[in-house]
Subunit: 201 residues, 3 copies
């Protein structure tokens, strides 16, 4: 049940990030909402397809789409009045990444996936929405930039699993894991943090 | 049953649009057919995956692939003899968009999806083939251009649902919805019509 | 059972190709592993989704991910010490293409797909990993280059089916089909071989 609200929060922030990305392009309002919707449902849809969970989370429950449209319209309106600082998209993206990475991990756990695969599933669920958003709006995918990105999701899910293995209750581990993802991303953005880069010398 | 023929018509016109897009690239004949096939089956495949309809429409029925190959070869041959005007790709795309948007909507309805989700499912079924085509052939996705695109699919499916709610029989509503999509797209192309654009001021 | 080892070999070589492609980008080590993993599992995941085979091959079996990580780390280490010739990526890609094309074909056969669809399924299974790799790392997809690519997969699967129709045992047909794919790709690369190109005159 808590996961349900996390998914709603995740689609809301990703929808906002989709709107902010679409702003760079000359889309009309419905086009913006379509981009917002694909960004918002992309990661969870992949997660449900891979884990064979049907119906897909948004397919029979209108609330997701209502939240997406509301979030998109609010973002459009907000942006008109207070042009947001450039980092707003990145913050929304960091929250969505964290929410979906942990929800993907938790559902993979519930499906009895081994730990390594829980990490991969969480990471893919977290990054897919943003990758779709960046591909659709023809921007360089965030995942390709130098700062810690997929790494933040991997670290957060790993911490979530490790804490549970140490006996920490799932709900607490969930919150800590999510905090790790967001904190790593925000730190990485602010300081330009990155791991040693693997480069063609 | 009628839906079966609409799907066949949809794959045929999308296959032709795939060939026309591939023409910009130095692909050999089999490569062209692969692009045509991915364009043609993309939208319906996503629809069937999301609605958990198995087998996927083209997986056990050779006719789809036969129609795709025939349509692709005819288009290749035709183009050699009568170089088509530049808008031919756009017209084929508009027909495919309309056919798949309405078929996606109808199947989502049959799966008991709420109306808002019927609209989203129709829109995604309609636009996916073209997005895949444009990404694979490395062109700016039609969906990103200024003229009404996703909006046409949304409007067509909305009209289809509204007419049914008003008591119009499904088959008639289907035809009207399809006509709305095609007409909006063609008008948008011809007049450069677009809704007010959401832009970074 | 043999197919299991082929899939492991396929993910290993595609993972290596993912690392080599990621080298062009400033990704950190975990980012490189994510690209390697997506490249490695992409084709087989699409295959399993389309054929409704659950659980998806890598979702409950950690070995695939272990092999991917091992292959990626070995490739990273190797590349540091002996910078590989430029064609290494292409050779790894050719092997992955062949292994997944034939495995996709064999599973489509087992699912009673008609021959034409076995060919399409094999081709899509073979090319998807490489397409995802090239899209994620923002390179021109190999499938768009002039040399024989999708055509090699089509030819290999067609030979595999034809040999079986002539009474050749499946295992032998499998090996011959795979050899055809690799040989065609390597020849095409070395000699710049390509079929007549369909071009906008």
């Amino acid at each position: 049940v808590l996961l349900y609200y996390f998914d709603l929060a995740g689609v809301a922030v990703f929808a906002a990030s989709g709107v902010l990305a679409a702003r760079e392009r000359d889309l009309d309002l419905l086009g913006v909402i379509v981009v917002a919707a694909i960004t918002a449902i992309g990661g969870g849809t992949l997660r449900d397809l891979l884990l064979d969970r049907h119906p897909i989370f948004w397919v029979t429950d209108s609330w997701y789409l209502v939240v997406i449209i509301a979030s998109a319209l609010l973002t459009v309106a907000y942006v008109r009045v207070w042009p947001p600082p450039g980092a707003t998209l990145l913050v929304a993206d960091a929250l969505g990444l964290a929410l979906f990475a942990l929800s993907g991990a938790q559902l993979a756990e519930a499906a009895q996936c081994p730990p390594l695969i829980v990490v991969l599933m969480g990471t893919m669920t977290g990054v897919t929405g943003g990758v779709l958003r960046d591909v659709i709006t023809a921007q360089v995918p965030l995942i390709l930039r130098r700062e810690i990105y997929a790494t933040a999701a991997i670290a957060g899910v790993a911490v979530y699993l490790a804490l549970q293995a140490l006996g920490v209750p799932r709900a607490s581990a969930f919150w800590v894991g999510m905090t790790v993802v967001v904190a790593l991303r925000l730190l990485a953005m602010r300081r330009g943090l990155h791991l040693p880069v693997f480069r063609k010398s």
